[in-house]
Amino acid sequence: MTNVSYSRWLRIGALTLGVLVILVPLLVVLFGTFKTLPQLFASPLSPPSHPTLGNYRQAIDQGGLGRALLNSVLVTAAAVGITLLLASLAAFGCARIPGRFSWAVYGLLVAGLAVPAQAAIVPQYVLFDRLGLTDSLPGLVLADITATMPTAVFILGGFLRTIPATLYEAAELDGAGPLRAYRSIALPLARPALATTGVFLFVIDWNDLLYPLFFIHSQGNRTLPLALLDFQGEFLTQYPLLFAGVIIASAPVIIVYVFAQRYFVSGLTAGATKG
């Protein structure tokens, strides 16, 4: 390989810069969880000189984070799963139905990408209220599904449409109906797209603040972002407490991600040829 040292140093340099930019704020957060607010302001970058676990204790006791974490997990898992299912079915249908009908349906579903959540939330609240779905986790799941459907259909639709019809025709000759075609052909080939979409949906649902803010009132139904808002006082943000809350909130997901990467990666490369 030509220019080894150049490109190698460039690589290392850029990677280091990237790592620093991402890492330094995270380190400040991590160290900050063991400090008090004045200590944090006095020396944000240094490791804690008199580490205290008080922030973690207070975050758990005062913030109800355990419950909020559970709620976030439940809501996100349900919303992502159901959305992937419904969106892949819809995208598959649109891909296999010829003519303007499927374009219209696809366009309709994807048009929602342009709609700001704030536009619909008031009538949505009223509607959900009448159906008794406000201040409930299932209601939140439903809200998330509707909000993320456009994104899911957008990504999955684009992908599913590229699967050549010949693959389906071969299966049809064997007597397979659309459901089998969906299950045995489309889904396996679409694994990378499904994984990508799943990640996107996860990020949106996990971090969502607007719907919980409007829809959820009781402490027991709060999701993580809402619980973290507690640490924002009217005049003072308790940074160390907040940071402790953030670590508690993020750690499980990161651990899962690290271990799941293996499956994640192999899922993404399924179908790629090796020769």
Partner: protein, 322 residues
Amino acid sequence: MLRRSSTSRSRSVSAGGSGRGRTRRGSRRAHPALYLFPLPALAVYLVFFAYPTLQSFQYAITDWNGYSATYRDVGLANLSTLATGDDLFRNAAENNVKLMFAVVIGQSLFALALALFLARTTRASTLLRALFFLPTIMSSVAVAFIWQFVYDPDTGLVDSALRGIGLGSLQQAFLGSPSAAIYWLAVVQIWFHAGQMMVVFIAGLQAIPREFYEAAELDGAGAFQRFRYVTWPLIAPATAIVTAYTTVQSFKAFDLVLGLGGNPPNSSLDLLSTRIYTTFSNYQYGYAAAESLIFMALIALVTIVQRRALRLLGSRTGEARP
């Protein structure tokens, strides 16, 4: 039985592709059961999203304040005011455009760079990938607070560090600077979501068969040429997704802006999403609905223009794309 040949694979990688074999008119009728497939998604979407959205939009031609039992029809007055007589709205739109350029370029490049460096599956890469992905899963509330702390001129991270190493003259007001605040916001947005886009690029990169690179090398292509003629065209679908999604994401940035810019945000950080929210909070529902309409049109316009631009770019550097 089903051959997964490399040709069908590389075709599968392209998104929004040819649709070949689908629209042969008349020669194939869709299986009736297929019409049931989009039904559940449509039902949920229409009842719980489209319908409420339309309800909101019908108020765009009124002056409804959001809670009274009566209101007046104002025709297109809201829309014309927004177009010419509302500096706050125009300011927010300008901020969105600035943010979009900064974020789309910055985030895509950063994510691509990270992906290029971390595409192979080594221990170190796996760990680093998780690290870069970490900000994405943090709540935007948390991210806003972290960066508020970083940006504070007196007690915050950056300016204290600058003072510490004697570069005090380089101190910035960051979010307090009227002209630059939006770009500092872009930095936070990039920090927040680059990891997510990195994942997409990695997926795209890992789908490129090794032989292509080996063949290029045999032809004497250097690293940059390999990137230009092999990598870049073949990750076009990933690039398309990243740029389109980053654009929409930057337009819809909301929680983060409220966290960093306040509620309502300072004019240097006011975006259309927060402008609409403020208008709702100001008991100007009809006006907010009109703002939402323009917002939607803007996003649609930008997305279309962007797709055209990407297609032009793609067709000049590699495989022809339709």
